[in-house]
Each structure stands twice: as structure tokens, then as C-alpha cells.
């Protein structure tokens, strides 16, 4: 404040407004963080501790929430008894597999779409993007029927293909925007110097590599967080983390500690990846419509 040249006079109304803003943002921050915080803390609680709750209206009882002996036994339980190592591997394989397929095919296709004009390009484009927008359940009905006859239900390959239905159009759509920003003159100059078309294409790849990497990560994130495809197409042999976590909810005996621990295991890597590609997040989540 002292470094400011102009001293601002804050009227009382202004000051009240400022306080209101701070309170509002604090409440929203609490509302955002609380479920995640509860998930972390509950994953460290013993079963009985997780069920303890104060009487209605007893505000001082909130302290009860913090009154527990931290234990890592739920995490151990997940990986030792509940086979979560396998599910973790399934999640990684399905998400990474579809992301790599989508981005590899998508990048070449997006590049070509960006560099050429032809009749019906707009329609082709709309078809590509509408595939991405289709409701997952609606896509799954025929996909399930087809995959069943091909014996792809319950296999990682089936799941990878299923995820590619939304990741590939996403990759094409968003990477085209990226290639559009690379001037054609660069390739032209390369080719004048004797490079083939393929060499010219490869020469601009370093320019778009950060973007391609970021959208590969986003594809992983979309596939990793899927529940519907995994619960039907992956049921049986290719159980992923969200499905395995959901299955811990049983009518008789809900193992909340393990569920919360599994939630942490599922969420933590994605939060880390989200931070990693923070710069591209808005672009990715709005299908390239909005840039920061």
C-alpha cells in the first residue's frame, strides 16, 4: 500500500463492500475445498471414527471431526486385499492407450485439415465434433451391442476403443486450432530448402509439441475420470479405479475408509496433471473456443 503514489480514500460503504467480498470468497473457498478435505481426512480414519457425528445443533461438536488417530490401513487394504494395483494399472493402460492413439491419429489428421481446403470440409468437421458431443450413454448402446459380438466387452482393448470415441474427435478438433496458428511459410521455407512434405511436417512439430503434450494429458484425464464406459464396456476383465471404488459400496457393509482412500488414489494423480497443464486447461475444457 505504501508504495502506491495515490492514496485512495475508502468510504465506509466501500469498506463494508470489501469485507463482504472477502467473506463471500472465503465461504466459496470453504465450499470448494471441504468435500476434498473430508475425503482426505476420512481416508485416514478408522471405521468407527468416520461414523462419529455430533448431535444436531451442537456446533462445538465439529471438533469431533478432527479427533482421530491417523491410520494408513485403508490404503494398505486397497492394494493388499482389494486388488487395486490391478485396477490402477487398468486405468493407466486404458487412459494412456486411448490418449496415445487419439493424439497420434488426431495430430496428423488435424495437420492435414489445417493445411487443405476441400468441398464438404465444414460438414466433415461438424461430424467430427458432434461425435465428441454425443451423450456417452447413447453412444454406449450400439457400441455395447457391437463389442459384445466382437468379444471386446470386458477387455482393455474394448475400453481403449470406447475412450477413443470421445478422445479422437477432441484431439482432431483442438489440434487443428493449434496447427492453424503455425504459419505455412515455415514449411514452405523448409521445402524450398529441399525438405519433403513429411520432413516439413516434422519440422513444425517442435512448435506444437507443448500443446500436443498438454492435450495428451487432457485425453488421459477425460478417459481416467470416465465411469459409464468402464462400468459397462469394461465390466469383468477391465475394471478401472472409479468402477472399483463404486463397487466398494455394498448394501450391507459400506467400507467408507477404503472408498475415501480409493477416491484419493483416483483423484490425486489427476489433480497433479491438471496443475501441470494449467495453461492449456481453459482451451481444452472449452474445446478450444476460449483461450486464456
Amino acid at each position: 500500500m505504501a508504495s502506491k503514489d495515490v492514496v485512495e480514500y475508502a468510504s465506509p460503504a466501500r469498506r463494508i463492500a470489501n469485507v463482504a467480498v472477502v467473506i463471500f470468497l472465503a465461504v466459496y473457498l470453504l465450499w470448494t475445498v471441504l468435500p476434498i478435505f473430508v475425503m482426505f481426512v476420512s481416508s485416514l480414519k478408522d471405521l468407527l471414527e468416520a461414523f462419529r457425528i455430533p448431535a444436531v445443533g451442537d456446533w462445538s461438536g465439529i471438533a469431533l471431526f478432527f479427533d482421530f488417530q491417523p491410520t494408513f490401513k485403508h490404503y494398505a487394504n486397497l492394494f493388499v486385499n482389494l486388488n487395486f494395483g490391478v485396477y490402477f494399472f487398468n486405468s493407466v493402460a486404458a487412459a494412456l492407450g486411448s490418449a496415445v492413439v487419439s493424439v497420434t491419429l488426431g495430430a496428423t489428421c488435424a495437420y492435414a485439415l489445417s493445411r487443405t481446403e476441400f468441398r464438404g470440409k465444414k460438414d466433415l468437421f461438424f461430424w467430427i465434433i458432434s461425435t465428441r458431443m454425443a451423450p456417452v450413454v447413447a453412444v454406449m448402446v450400439p457400441l455395447y451391442a457391437i463389442f459384445r459380438s466382437l468379444e471386446l466387452v470386458g477387455s482393455l482393448w474394448g475400453l481403449i476403443l470406447a475412450y477413443t470415441t470421445f478422445n479422437l474427435p477432441f484431439a482432431i478438433w483442438i489440434l487443428k486450432g493449434f496447427f492453424d496458428n503455425v504459419p505455412y511459410a515455415i514449411e514452405e521455407a523448409q521445402m524450398v530448402d529441399g525438405a519433403t512434405r513429411l520432413q516439413a511436417f516434422r519440422s513444425i512439430l517442435p512448435l506444437v509439441a507443448p500443446g500436443i503434450g498438454a492435450f495428451l494429458v487432457l485425453c488421459v484425464l477425460f478417459a481416467w475420470n470416465d465411469f459409464l464406459f468402464a462400468s459397462i464396456i469394461g465390466s469383468g476383465g477391465a475394471k478401472t479405479l472409479p468402477v472399483a471404488t463404486k463397487e466398494l459400496v455394498q448394501p450391507q457393509n459400506i467400507q467408507w475408509g477404503s472408498i475415501m482412500a480409493a477416491g484419493v488414489v483416483t483423484t490425486l494423480p489427476m489433480m497433479f496433471l491438471g496443475l501441470l497443464i494449467r495453461r492449456y486447461l481453459v482451451t481444452g475444457l472449452t474445446m478450444g473456443a476460449v483461450r486464456e
Binding site: F24, G57, V101, C109, Y111, A138, M271
Partner: protein, 340 residues
């Protein structure tokens, strides 16, 4: 190669290797030792290169056709059949649709609930999102807070559903305890009663996706032209008048994109709904995609499911057309422009 150059008039594709007999000016062609200007110089896409681009496109297009176009036709075929795993499929014409539109109250109800659900989510997400973005914009805490606000979006909707299921629980849920303590709820949990279950779902959606609207709005706020703001202030406008007269009109294209994206996502994802209520209690939250899920994968009436899926797809495609139109509009091009 050389003949191609002669007939096509495009030189760029054949530059390497020095086999190009002309190679000086694009568009000039040498025939029988005489160099003539055959046609306008090719600007961007010389004919021979086109085939090359199509080869590059082909793998992705073929894959996409196999996993989306082919299933789409299969879906139409299924919707006209009574699909039975054991007895085999039987042609029944439009009977599936007839049933949906005349007798199936869950179908019409599902549409109404879906629209109600999306409208509620969107209303609160946009109001809250814009408010928070405006308050955060250019504040000292913007970077840190936005990063924190992003966290719910990174969470799998299914996991978010499970965590909220725990928080809402009628006997040991902390949110239930809170709502009971402030007198909002009685003994029954928010998901347990048909009159409040929808609110419970909407809260989860607001929690997870308001940050997206915040992000989009923040990107929009950074691009509100300063001169317009200053001109308006010279005219004597205060901060609030400024917001409605200058900021909000500039935000419209951003908000429209945000609204359409969220609207379509409400159609696309039902992970958290499936976990929190599964459509209950008493069908109070049986939004159409959930009903479709039940018909197809609980009762395995895949033919009827296909008919429902088709109606859902048609509506999504119409919405998608709107979205693409907005993407292509001049206003949206302004949206995508990087700051400058």
C-alpha cells in the same frame, strides 16, 4: 513427376531433388522449350499435395467412422428391432418409438427432469461463476484461488458422487448434520425425499462445474476493451453501471459458449447422478440419460434403449449445431484471440 508439373502447373510439390524443369516462378510451365504462364499461381494447395493430405487424414477418419458412424447406423437399426440377446432380433418397425411417445410417461418425464436439472445447474453456475470471476479479476489472490477452485473439476464425477453421497448421508454425513443443524432438513437426508433429491444433485453439479464458468468468464474479462470502460467512466458511470453497460455485453459470447458446453455435458455425463440417486426416489431424479441407462443396461431392452438414445442424440446434434455456429461467428473469433 515432371509430367505432373507440366499438366498441373503446381511446382511446390516437386521442388526437392532439383528435377523440376522450371522452378523459377510458380504457375509458369515449360512446353517444348517455351515457358508460359499457365494459370494463376497455386496459393496454398497445389493439386498433387492434396492426395498427400488425404492420406494423412485417412487413418483418423476411418477409425472415427468405425467407432462412431458405424455404431450410429447400428443404433438406427436397433431402434427398429426388438433386440433380444437370447431369442434373436425381431423387426418391429416404429413400435419402439410409438411406445415412447404415446405410453411411456417415464420418457416424457425424463425429458422434463433433464431440462429442469440442466436449467437449475446452469442458472446457479452462471450467476455464481460470473460473480466470483468479477470479484477475482485483477485481485491479488486471483492466481492462487483459481488454482484451488480448479480442483473439483479434476475429480472423476463418480468419485465426486461418492464423496457427496457420504456427506449427504442421513446418519453420519457432515453436510446432512449441517443442514439439520441450521434447520433446513429434518431426519430424511436430502437424497431421500423426492422433493429435495433434485436439489442435492444440482448442488454437486454446482460444486464441480462452477469453476469452469469462472475460468471462462475470467478469460472474457481480460478481453473487455479498456477504452470502452474508460469512455463510459468519463460519462459518469460507476462500477455497477459499468458492469451492466460495458462488461456484460462483452462477456455474452463467452457465457454463451460456457452455457452450451455445460448444457451438453449435463446430457453427456450422468456418473454422479447414477451414484447419488440412480434416478430415485420415486423417479424424482430419473433424468432421461439415467432412464436410458436403466432401460439398456439394467433391463437390457436394447431396442427401446436405442430409440431413446436416438431422440437424445438428435437433440444433442441440434444443440451442437448452435455451438458450432457460435464458434464460427465473428464474436467467438474475438473470444479465441490471444490477448494483445
Amino acid at each position: 513427376m515432371a509430367t505432373q508439373v507440366l499438366s498441373g502447373g503446381a511446382l511446390r510439390g516437386d521442388a526437392p531433388g532439383g528435377i523440376n524443369p522450371v522452378g523459377i516462378m510458380p504457375g509458369f510451365v515449360t512446353r517444348d522449350g517455351v515457358t508460359v504462364l499457365e494459370r494463376e499461381p497455386a496459393v496454398r494447395n497445389p493439386e498433387p499435395s492434396r492426395r498427400y493430405y488425404f492420406y494423412m487424414m485417412a487413418p483418423a477418419i476411418i477409425t472415427l467412422a468405425a467407432i462412431s458412424l458405424y455404431p450410429f447406423f447400428w443404433l438406427i437399426w436397433m431402434s427398429l428391432h426388438d433386440v433380444d440377446v437370447m431369442a434373436g432380433d425381431k423387426w418391429i418397425g416404429l413400435k419402439n418409438f410409438e411406445r415412447l411417445f404415446t405410453r411411456d410417461t417415464k420418457f416424457s418425464n425424463g425429458w422434463l427432469l433433464l431440462i429442469q436439472y440442466s436449467a437449475l445447474c446452469l442458472f446457479f453456475e452462471v450467476v455464481l461463476g460470473v460473480l466470483i470471476a468479477v470479484l477475482l479479476n485483477r485481485s491479488r489472490w486471483e492466481k492462487v484461488l483459481v488454482t484451488v477452485f480448479l480442483m473439483p473439476m479434476m475429480m472423476a464425477p463418480a468419485i465426486a458422487g461418492l464423496v457427496w453421497y457420504y456427506l449427504y448421508n442421513g446418519t453420519f454425513g457432515w453436510y446432512h448434520w449441517f443442514m439439520q443443524s441450521v434447520g433446513l432438513l429434518g431426519e430424511t437426508s436430502i437424497l431421500g425425499s423426492p422433493s429435495t433429491a433434485m436439489i442435492g444433485l444440482v448442488l454437486v453439479d454446482i460444486w464441480q462445474w462452477t469453476p469452469l464458468i469462472v475460468l471462462i468468464t475470467l478469460a472474457g474479462l481480460k478481453r473487455v476493451p479498456r477504452d470502452q470502460l474508460e469512455a463510459n467512466m468519463v460519462d459518469g458511470a460507476g462500477e455497477i453501471r459499468n458492469f451492466f453497460q460495458v462488461v456484460l455485453p462483452n462477456l455474452y459470447p463467452f457465457l454463451l459458449i460456457g452455457i452450451l458446453l455445460r448444457f451438453m455435458d449435463n446430457f453427456r455425463f450422468i456418473d454422479s447422478v447414477l451414484i447419488l440417486t440412480g434416478g430415485g426416489p420415486a423417479d424424482a431424479t430419473n433424468i432421461l440419460p439415467v432412464y436410458l441407462f436403466d432401460v439398456s443396461f439394467q433391463y437390457f431392452k436394447l431396442g427401446r434403449g436405442a430409440a431413446i438414445a436416438l431422440t437424445l442424440l438428435v437433440v444433442t446434434i441440434i444443440l451442437g449445431m448452435f455451438l458450432v455456429k457460435i464458434f464460427d461467428s465473428p464474436a467467438a473469433r474475438n473470444v479465441g484471440r490471444t490477448e494483445g
